[in-house]
């Protein structure tokens, strides 16, 4: 943004151009050193791993397709779970903010219990304990249900905070123009709350892709399971674990990039044109 509009003239004072140029230079120096730091540290870690663990390229070539195939399950389970979790979170948040004591009580209990027990315990409970009550659920749906419930509880608090962060003036204005309570929530508050919580939800989604590794204990052949199954019998457990870690990281990089783009788009209304 230049001062052209302000002065109304076509001549830009040289001092302004100098300041802009020096800002750009500092920006690029920052970026360069930033990238250099990444490269140096990653190279150091890479050398350390190669020296201690070793890279067996033949083994990797043979097994990489099998291991990477697990990403399908990781993504499938994460994507479905985050949608269900968000749905649960909205209900939970409305419950936590509700004046109805039953609704509020149930929502608070849900949050407290599910946040208070380990995800691994929840997965095993759904898979192993429910059959005693006659409810038998297969491994993949068990993973989805466990993750949805677990993240739904955490996201409930996020959504509750997001709803409360919507400026009060919005609610007052909505009521002033005669919108019924339900419409206020649906058309004014929730859409704005969504924008506020998007970074947190994106964050949790990325965390969830890592938590899917826990589902390997009930036998879903996702990324970690495959890495271990490939590595253990052949004595290459380290290599495969590191490969799995790198794949998770790449997945995270991709998802973070998309999250950044989503946040930019949602903030479009804020930017000065």
């Amino acid at each position: 943004m230049t001062v052209q509009a302000a002065t109304g003239g076509t001549a830009v004072p040289p001092i302004v151009l100098e300041i802009e140029a020096s800002q750009r230079r500092r920006g690029s120096i920052f970026r360069m050193v930033f990238i250099l730091t990444w490269i140096v540290v990653l190279a150091a870690v890479g050398v350390f791993l190669i020296v201690t663990v070793g890279v067996n390229t033949g083994f990797l070539q043979e097994w990489l397709p099998f291991i990477v195939g697990g990403v399908y399950f990781t993504l499938l389970i994460s994507v479905i779970s985050i949608f269900i979790a968000v749905g649960l979170a909205i209900f939970g948040a409305l419950g936590r903010l509700s004046t109805n004591p039953i609704f509020n009580g149930l929502a608070s209990l849900y949050v407290s219990v599910v946040r208070g027990t380990p995800l691994l315990v929840q997965i095993l409970f759904i898979f192993l304990a429910l059959p005693a009550a006659g409810i038998v659920i297969d491994a993949v749906p068990t993973g989805i249900i466990a993750l949805s419930f677990n993240y739904g509880a955490y996201l409930t608090e996020v959504f509750r905070a997001g709803i409360q962060a919507v400026p009060g003036g919005q609610v007052e204005a909505a009521r002033a123009i005669g919108l019924p309570e339900r419409e206020v929530m649906r058309r004014i508050v929730l859409p704005q709350a969504f924008r506020i919580v998007t970074p947190a939800v994106g964050n949790d989604f990325i965390a969830m892709t890592k938590d899917t590794a826990l589902i390997s204990v009930i036998g879903v052949q996702e990324l970690l399971w495959r890495a271990q199954a490939a590595g253990r019998p052949t004595g290459q457990a380290f290599q495969t674990i590191i490969v799995a870690a790198i794949i998770y990281w790449c997945l995270t990089l991709v998802l973070s990039y998309f999250q950044a783009r989503l946040e930019k788009r949602m903030a479009a209304g804020d930017r000065v044109r």
């Binding site: 499938l76 479905i80 898979f127 192993l128 036998g219 052949t234």
Partner: protein, 313 residues
């Protein structure tokens, strides 16, 4: 985004519904990779087995269910070479897998595999998710409480090993030291002194004061030792797994005579459908496999020794 005509919640709802439908369809299909290295041809139940005295299976029993489906679902833990391990194309191979395929062939059904964790299999209450376990499971008294066992299809000695740099050469020297084992294995029971295995031959007494390092599976112990972890100086598992580990270069040596010999059998969940007639069929099949040399041949192929002969005590 236009806050009044908000398309976003509608889009999210649509995507969520599509995702759930997709999940339902894909979970209806198997979560695992399809069958073993040598898939059996699908044959109808009546055509395949010549020794079958065609009595009607108990309605809704296990045998009925398997024959009607034309498939038997076998659970396996493919982290246990050379008994069961996974191939780069996702199929399974190993001694247990070969035995499972043979059982399927003699029943006249195809074989499908599920891969839950080992302690899930030994705990029973499978919920009908798989029909049998062919996983080198030792017959023990506690397990008989929740599982039915076939006759043993092979026998393995439990072999104690010590890391090469610990300098330990006898089992007695392990007193007060830490030994690594897989969780929910009979080896863990033996060390704890709670082994109620129907083992054949003498059962040695574990040294006093032994400490345990329990990892999810036997292979994790081999890996930990190979990595140079010093938590444990010993590793107890079946002699077949020991041989495999040594072949892989794990720095361990066998010490002492085998501490006990176990019977390994196929197991079936007691809380599943009625398995009386299936057990009878299974017994016949396994006895036939012993008699016609199939099991011996497989044992020689995978273990370089015939472990299918019961040891003389």
């Amino acid at each position: 985004m236009n806050p009044v005509h908000s398309t976003r919640p509608r889009l999210i709802g649509l995507l969520a519904t599509a995702a759930i439908i997709f999940a339902a369809c894909s979970s209806a299909a198997s979560t695992t990779e399809p069958s073993a290295a040598a898939p059996t041809p699908a044959s109808s139940a009546a055509a395949a087995s010549p020794t079958e005295a065609i009595a009607t299976p108990i309605p809704d029993g296990l045998l009925d269910k398997i024959l009607k489906a034309g498939t038997i679902v076998v659970s396996t833990d493919p982290n246990y070479a050379p008994q069961s391990f996974v191939q780069p194309d996702g199929s399974y191979d190993g001694f247990d897998i070969a035995v499972a395929e043979e059982i399927g062939k003699r029943l006249g059904v195809t074989v499908k595999y599920e891969t839950p964790g080992w302690d899930t299999i030994t705990a029973g209450s499978w919920g009908g998710r798989w029909d049998i376990s062919v996983g080198s499971m030792t017959i023990t008294v506690p397990r008989r409480g929740v599982l039915d066992f076939s006759p043993a299809y092979y026998f393995t000695p439990a072999q104690m090993t010590a890391t090469t740099d610990s300098g330990i050469t006898s089992i007695a020297e392990l007193a007060g030291k830490t030994v690594c084992l897989g969780s929910a294995t009979t080896y863990e029971d033996w060390i704890k002194g709670t082994l109620e295995s129907e083992s054949l031959g003498p059962v040695a007494v574990p040294p006093a004061d032994i400490k345990l390092q329990t990892l999810p599976t036997d292979q994790d112990c081999a890996q930990a030792i190979a990595a140079g972890r010093k938590d444990a100086v010993g590793f107890l598992t079946s002699s077949t797994t020991v041989d495999q580990a040594i072949k892989n270069g794990t720095p361990i040596v066998k010490i002492g005579e085998p501490v006990f010999t176990e019977q390994l059998a196929v197991s079936i969940d007691k809380s599943g459908p009625d398995d009386t007639d299936f057990l009878a069929r299974l017994k016949t099949i396994i006895e036939e496999m012993h008699a016609d040399g199939t099991l011996s041949a497989l044992s020689l192929k995978w273990f370089d020794e015939d472990l299918t002969v019961p040891p003389t005590s």
